[in-house]
Assembly symmetry: C2
Homo-oligomer: 716 residues x 2
């Protein structure tokens, strides 16, 4: 596999470039300025004042000294090597600077300058030009039109943002410069520390996937959070994110709606895939934790950053008031968190040490007049309990409440346990000093109890994901050659849609089971075939020009005698000639009547970002009216196929309601995997519907009754 060598070399080059980006030995600021109004001044100042220890070179042909540093007329004029160039020159000067960087063998350039793709065609052109120069010269680019980036460990603040976050283990990717600033500001007030902070800008070169890829091994980044408006390389994202999330949590806020117009949606299920379906599927498949608000992103990030993952989802709650305890209990129900059932010893201990009005069951209510001592009794008892995986301490400010000393109790208890400890000290002024103590000691505190429960739930999701054994895409033995031949035949005849029989040949070659069927070119042939297939049969016109066969009277079902076969054949041909004049008629297909079963739909559509999107649902109204469909990006693993089947609401119908026998779910999983393999092997298949895939009773398999396949208009 000699062709893989350059790929690996490419990866290694990226790794080195990103390493340089975050921990350079030298940085040039191109466009550095002595004028405090200019970005070139702010960026240089941030680098110098942030405590960066490497070499800093201002570059500006019009100055000799900037901020007390010797200034150079160009990057190539710098005497020593330059690892990173931060570019803040006017747009039309950027290309020249990039060329200069290439000549100087700079490893990465951060282009802060705006005025590129975001402003229209003229900017697109300028952007393409700098990318071309960089690519040809082996230089990696962050931006353009970005705020820059920060590494708190190398103390590099290559941005024009105000201030630098505290050092921590969260790394942040933002596709919005404004959110970058807002989060920076909030993080500072909340005393939350970060490792790396990256503004992506236009993503002309380095994108979120490059960063995720390099951060997998980054021991300083334990939690990755990302605000994204789009993902350009869907398949690579899935591969890289799936890898990252096995090592550390990835929390994603994906906003924005992709334009419906950009999607190839002629397949049946394809039209039902909302623009978010592929993103939603991709996040599930990669183990990314998707959040809907920045607040939740923060809430989860500090839980992951500060606390160990729980070993299970059994949460103990200790509170000094019933109300918040109930609210937390409600939240557990909604978030799939279990209220821990305490062991008898725990209950006895609580009963003997707490006042009689206290509640010794979960949630433990230490009652409104509880001081720190009583909290301590309860917290120590429940943390010792083997049935408890995590603890949420609730506190409301009451007359005898001492938030600071109670915080100390929590902090000390957390030090002695490896279980997850979260708090919700409610209120503001009265609990502030206590909350500050918790923050310093890295106990996540949430203003409201349900936020703590949600964070605990997210931690469990991550744990379950990490524990799940790895799984490969299954490869069936199939007849690729047969499919290749059919596709060639269709292409050669100038079509991009397969006929009935062609589509059946394709799925049959991939191990799906269409009903027994054959084409009759005459009435006599129909009679002979009917005898061969066995009565009753279904009969349908076959024509490349007739899409809706029923509409032209081209379908007869349940034809059950030889006389009826003869009559049906003649009627179908007569109808087709009459209602579809000029259509090419290839004959009449006879098909066995299918065993009874549940009608399901398996579909494939093409997503512009993620490629083949598989869909599964129950036939008829379930998919069309109730939109009860599961989506996944192909190729899928057996577990993903299984999840698809089980995630639809109407799955219960497949299991069998009342006295019905369950449907053959394994056969559905098998069909999904085979279709996944088919479209992966033949990317030119851009749409496909098996509708219905009739699923018989358990052990009886499934029949692909009707199959439609469409090809891309240009051969792949």
């Amino acid at each position: 596999m000699a062709h893989r060598v350059p790929v690996l070399a490419e990866k290694e080059k990226t790794r080195l470039a990103l390493e340089a980006l975050f921990s350079p030995e030298s940085v040039a600021v191109v466009g550095a300025s002595g004028n405090p109004e200019k970005l070139g001044h702010v960026v240089l100042k941030n680098i110098v004042e942030g405590g960066y220890q490497g070499q800093v070179y201002p570059v500006n042909p019009l100055a000799d000294v900037v901020l007390g540093l010797r200034c150079y007329p160009s990057v190539s004029a710098v005497p020593g090597p330059v690892d990173v160039a931060v570019v803040v020159v006017p747009r039309d000067a950027v290309a020249e600077v990039i060329q200069d960087c290439v000549d100087k063998a700079v490893k990465a350039a951060v282009v802060i300058t705006a005025g590129f793709r975001e402003i229209g065609p003229e900017g697109v052109k300028a952007e393409k030009e700098i990318v071309r120069i960089a690519k040809e010269g082996g230089l990696r680019l962050l931006g353009p039109n970005c705020l820059g980036h920060i590494d708190t460990h190398s103390r590099l603040n290559a941005t024009f943002a105000a201030g630098m976050p505290l050092t921590g283990n969260i790394s942040f990717i933002s596709q919005s410069g404004a959110l970058f600033s807002a989060i920076l500001d909030m993080a500072d007030s909340e005393r939350v520390g970060f490792a790396k902070f990256v503004s992506l800008g236009n993503k002309a070169d380095i994108n979120e996937i490059d960063l995720l890829d390099s951060w997998r091994e980054d021991e300083l980044s334990n939690v990755v959070i990302a605000y994204l408006e789009g993902i350009s390389e869907g398949h690579r994202f899935i591969a890289v994110a799936r890898d990252l999330t096995k090592a550390k949590p990835l929390i994603v806020l994906k906003s924005g709606v992709t334009s419906e117009g950009s999607r190839a949606v002629s397949s049946h299920t394809g039209t039902l895939a909302g623009s978010d379906a592929a993103y939603s599927a991709a996040f599930k498949q990669t183990g990314a934790i998707r959040v809907n608000t920045l607040e939740t992103m923060f809430d989860f990030a500090i839980a992951f950053a500060y606390q160990p993952l729980p070993k299970g989802k059994r949460l103990a709650i200790v509170t000094n008031a019933g109300g918040p305890g109930i609210m937390a209990t409600d939240a557990c129900g909604k978030a799939g968190v279990d209220l821990a059932h305490f062991q008898p010893g725990t209950i006895d201990a609580l009963r003997s040490k707490l006042p009689p009005t206290a509640s010794v069951y979960n949630p433990v209510d230490v009652i409104g007049d509880a001081g720190p001592e009583r909290y301590q009794v309860a917290i120590e008892a429940v943390l010792k309990d083997a049935n408890v995986d995590g603890l949420l301490v609730l506190l409301t400010p009451q007359r005898l409440t001492d938030a600071v000393r109670t915080a100390n109790v929590v902090i000390n208890a957390a030090k002695k346990t490896r279980k997850t400890v979260l708090t919700s000290f409610m209120g503001t002024a009265s609990v502030k000093a206590g909350v500050d103590r918790l923050r310093e000691a890295k106990i996540p505190n949430y203003p409201f109890p349900e936020q703590g429960v949600a964070a605990f739930s997210a931690m469990n999701q991550q744990r379950e994901w990490m524990l799940r054994p790895g799984e490969k895409v299954k490869s069936f033995r199939v007849n690729r050659a047969a499919v290749r031949e059919v596709i060639k035949r269709v292409r050669d005849s100038g079509r991009d849609t397969l006929g009935d029989i062609e589509a059946r040949e394709v799925v049959e070659a991939y191990g799906l089971r269409p009903p027994r069927s054959a084409l009759a070119r005459s009435t006599d042939e129909a009679v002979a075939l009917a005898q061969e297939i066995g009565l009753p049969v279904a009969m349908k016109i076959v024509s490349p020009d007739i899409l809706h066969k029923s509409d032209v009277g081209g379908v007869k079902l349940g034809v059950s005698t030889i006389d009826e076969v003869r009559a049906a054949d003649q009627a179908i041909m007569r109808n087709a000639r009459r209602y579809a004049p000029g259509a090419r008629l290839w004959g009449v297909a006879l098909q066995e009547m299918v065993l009874p079963g549940k009608e399901t739909i398996v579909g494939v559509s093409l997503d512009p970002q993620f490629g083949h999107l598989l869909a599964f649902g129950l036939g008829g109204i379930y998919v069309e009216v109730l939109k009860d469909i599961a989506f996944r990006v192909a190729p899928i693993t057996p577990r993903e196929a299984d999840q698809m089947v089980k995630e639809i609401r109407s799955y219960l119908l497949l299991k069998g309601v009342r006295r019905e026998k369950p449907a053959d779910v394994d056969a559905i999983v098998d069909a999904l995997l085979r279709v996944s393999q088919l479209v992966t092997d033949f990317p030119e298949i851009i749409e496909m519907d098996i509708n219905p895939l009739v699923v018989h009773e358990e052990g009886q398999g499934a029949t692909a009754v009707d199959v439609r396949i469409g090809l891309s208009t240009v051969a792949a």
Copy 2:
């Protein structure tokens, strides 16, 4: 209607007592103490220091002077009249104090003392005793086991909480004392003002409904928020809350799960009604705005308190960054808020005054380097647009951002418009001064854009509710006497379940249409009846002792010849004798075969708080497997019945998918209203299922094929 007079007098008395509670001319603190450790000290101090202007009387037999005030040995020893007594004596002394208050003609007592119902049987007894004394003496009680109450306008702080909220127009009811404290604390930090603040405690007498009732006319309370764990008088809550919400918003956070055990759930749909179904229905029927978190409660409260209701749901967004604009747009989609389409003039104005890179469509992006002037241009232009009902201004801290001056721009623009203006200045330290300005000027500011969108959506929900014309429960002409007679007959025979034919009689008397049917006591009679009803018929065993007729071979469907009738009759009787030996067999019922249609279920179950809960859904798997059911508390109005039908997901199936004709939705609405009237007229009906109610094509009505009715075990 002479009997209504005492009810009105009762209401008036409550009104006066509550008026006294919040604006008393004199207050006695019973249990006042000079010891700062005691609650009796804290409460008295809060009253005195809160600025209350009326007479304050400490009461304590062991002291002469407390906090410099003359102290009295008992309430009756106080020289002048006492409007309100705040009771903080030990539990066992409370009853005597209450008697003393009654003797003194005190109007309302606030019992802060704990140790009542919340501690078990002994406390229940003590609580009953004080309620008895108060009731007999015409004294109204708040509590016991409460934190007290606050009125910021009369400056009365009759609590032991720390501090008093700012004066404002939000009134708050809390069933949790702890949340009362927490909210008080948060309100203070956020500078949010309140009118009244009530801790309900055990609700032994005064409950949330009394307060809601009196606050309808309270001009100082423009927004009511409530944290509730349960509602005891369901029907009264619905009546009172429905009235209140026509005048002002009611925001409810209902937590806690009622015990499943307390519910009468033998009916089919009853078992499917989660414990929250009745609350959820009741909130819909009263126009209360339900929230799931305290944070959202706060978010909505300040929007209602500070800003005028919008005239419609078209929101304009002005932002200095794309990211937050996209997030707000996403949130609009989820919350049912429309992005305003600007008039051409607005777009022209924006285009001529904003830089070329700005986005002049909604969301208006004034770009990262926008100063206050550019915000002003955009804000003024969009607020002038007749297509805009409300404005959300987003601001992220960027290099040239001036949060304070931008806040001033927003404040000035808000002064000149009657449209709703909300803001989301994101970040913390960098925007704090601006956010403080907004708060002072009563512009709600939210840390994240989606909170602003959600608040705007809630305001629209309130506006739509207030605009909805009033509607009465419809009264059909029915045959009440017939139903009374059937119920008497069933009761007389010692049963609490109606037989088939009895149940049919009942629904027929209320104008529903069961299939034509008659009871055959012999095979010959069966033959005669079959000829009368018309073949084919369904035949079923009739016995008060056989619940599951099919299980004993007691059902034959589609019996279509006279010979078959004869054979079926004999087979059914033989099967019944064999498989249900000893059962009383009344004969075989013959029933017309029903017109085709959609199977639906209409059900009634009894909720412990709200009484009759109506349910509607599609038959078979929709109700049972997919839990697609709508609930409402009876009696319902025509609009509520119509909403029930339309709110289920599977409503689309009733409208007809593909080429099906739509089902007769009017007939469903009619059936729901008639069932609602039936159970309201006969409260002894505690469960009922029409399953199926077969709904025919539009205009063809519906047939109540199978009806089950259960009565309360004791005659109502």
